[in-house]
Symmetry: C2
Subunit: 374 residues, 2 copies
């Protein structure tokens, strides 16, 4: 009977409306029925991304679509700018290097956003693409993608944004801001299980695609677009996940993108207020609304805290990744999360910290969160 609460920044809680359709009998994908569903999904993703650009959908997790944005835009030896301010920004650098690109990596102290001026400084005629992260999931940092896009749009380079965890939580207006490739995934703000990823592709980006000499097949933009234009996919799609995605995209449309952005901004503010009220410090210097990274207070063991939360209270937070392991924990406020979920999270955090001997006034975190939420 124990209830489980998932606050990890992916996978996020899947709404029952989406869970239940995955349990329905499967159907074949080369059918009108599937094409109608897929067209609705393509339209829904365009709505979410605020774009009229092509949206290409892959059966993979987010990293597959990140790789697609490298393999389809570049040729070996091409110069790119990447930003290493956390595990996922670092990943873009790793992928680019794996594909033989010449990587100019902006190394940041983790927890800090990239300074758009630094990108401007490094941009040159030779730079083919700039790879940045909207929400750096590993640090809870939101980068100023709008400012970066304004800079990159004036250059010959294309801008690729990993919006996997930030999408719908911090604003991202693909067309208005001139984002050439936005990469998204299914298991974050879109609230379905992992296994579907996508890219939007601007005209400027298609220019690079057509001259790219990198090898690719499964993630090929051209074959995927050719099929997408007929509401189809070149390879077997993840039918059940798409079915769930149709449901959550309907929910997103029904709530409205702007309203969701306001909601998640408020939820994240409540998490920040709640944790501050019990003396905890944020890790991020530019906090994302998707996930809040909190420093583990002195004297508390991160593993013990997370295990206690999960095993005794049924509450899953995420720990730190890579060099942040043991130093932070992360509370997600994206997707199928509401005000009461944030109070539950704060309350569980208080219970666990109290049990581990951390000194604070019980209830102070929940109260501060509630003040923001009311």
């Amino acid at each position: 009977m124990r209830k489980e609460y998932l606050y990890s920044p992916g996978p996020t809680t899947v709404p029952p409306e989406a869970l239940s359709v995955m349990g329905k009998p499967i159907f074949h994908h080369r059918t009108k029925r599937h094409r109608e569903m897929f067209q609705e999904i393509l339209d829904g993703l365009k709505y979410v991304l605020a774009t009229q650009n092509d949206v290409l959908v892959f059966a993979s997790s987010g990293t597959g679509a990140m790789e697609a944005s490298v393999a389809n835009l570049l040729s070996s030896g091409d110069r790119v700018i990447t930003v290493s301010g956390g595990k996922f920004g670092q990943r873009f650098g790793e992928i680019c290097r794996a594909y033989g690109a010449e990587v100019d990596e902006i190394a940041l102290e983790w927890g800090h956003p990239v300074d758009p001026a630094e990108i401007e400084k490094r941009l040159s005629e030779e730079v083919k693409a700039v790879y940045v992260t909207l929400c750096e999931t590993s640090t809870g940092v939101n980068n100023d993608v709008r400012a970066i896009a304004g800079i990159v749009a004036k250059s010959r380079a294309v801008l690729v944004v990993d919006a996997i965890s930030g999408l719908l939580c911090n604003d991202l207006l693909v067309d208005e801001w001139n984002i050439d490739v936005a990469v998204g995934g299914s298991q974050k703000g879109l609230m379905i299980p992992p296994g579907v990823a996508f890219c939007s592709v601007s005209e400027k980006a298609w220019g690079l695609v057509n001259s790219s000499k990198m090898p690719k097949y499964y993630f090929d933009f051209n074959s995927t677009k050719k099929s997408a234009d007929k509401a189809d996919t070149p390879f077997t799609p993840a039918v059940t996940l798409l079915r769930a995605l149709r449901e959550t995209l309907r929910m997103v449309r029904s709530e409205g993108r702007e309203n969701l952005l306001r909601l998640y901004a408020k939820l994240a503010r409540a998490v920040r207020a709640g944790t501050a009220a019990i003396g905890l410090e944020l890790f991020s210097h530019a906090p994302s609304n998707a996930v809040t990274a909190v420093k583990v207070p002195e004297g508390i063991d991160a593993g013990e805290l997370l295990n206690l939360l999960r095993d005794e209270l049924g509450v899953t937070f995420a720990g730190g990744q890579a060099k942040l392991k043991g130093k932070i924990f992360r509370i997600c406020s994206m997707g199928y999360t509401n005000e009461f979920d944030i109070l539950t999270a704060m309350s569980a955090l208080e219970f666990a910290l109290k049990k581990l001997g951390y000194q604070f006034e019980i209830g102070a975190g929940v109260k501060a969160a509630q003040e923001v939420l009311s």
Copy 2:
């Protein structure tokens, strides 16, 4: 209230036991709970493939794992042998060429299996890998992988087998036969929705992996193995699909691989007998037990036949792909299919053909099938 019957060679019918677990609340993948599940899946896949080799699992459809077997084994300019006897054999050639391999393609008349002696003739010191298909889904042909493996094992080349649709239907003993890389998918004999694919990798294949210079990241064998050794994945796995896969792997183990092979052999024999009894001709000269390709009889329009079956009777067969469109239809007998399903398929086929004016004795196909099945 209309019942739906799916006889397409992927996705295949998903058993309720697997459907229902996909509707359960999702859980996080970096947990003991997930690792235990994933270890059971890795063990189950080894059982299915009859191997002790590493098995690497990807969140992708089958083509992703086919690409992995190219990107991880080869370097640009490497010489390979591929077999183009249908859409999927052809695909191996396309992927190899996309990656800059030098492809010696054995072009077959579609519907015919590859002659192992032809592979032997073309093998040389320079050939790095031979790519063949167990069941060529597009033509219903089963290739003699055992004989091919015996030949390739004596050479320096590695053998890669696309077993995506053939697995569990026609025998494939990875270790006993010396198959270096076997590629599998989730939505065929393994009975779950599309979105999970896998490769087994022999020691001989690892030798090539370690000298491969092809770019790769998402499908990287080394990082995937490093994680798999800890029952983990380098990137977010398709949690709900894996959950379903655990259920179907348990079913497969409980039935027993040998028993399933016998069952599908019998079911396919029944389809062949049933279609022959009403005067239909097989397309394949070496029929697979996974899927039976039948020539559309003269005077009958394939599209009309398939639509009538699907829209009026709720019965989905697959049509022909690429150059076989309009010329054949395909009935799958893999996965969650039993004797009664075959009788249903035969009966529906008879109803539809009768309605379209094809001349035959009604009931003759069902009777012939039943004789085989009894």
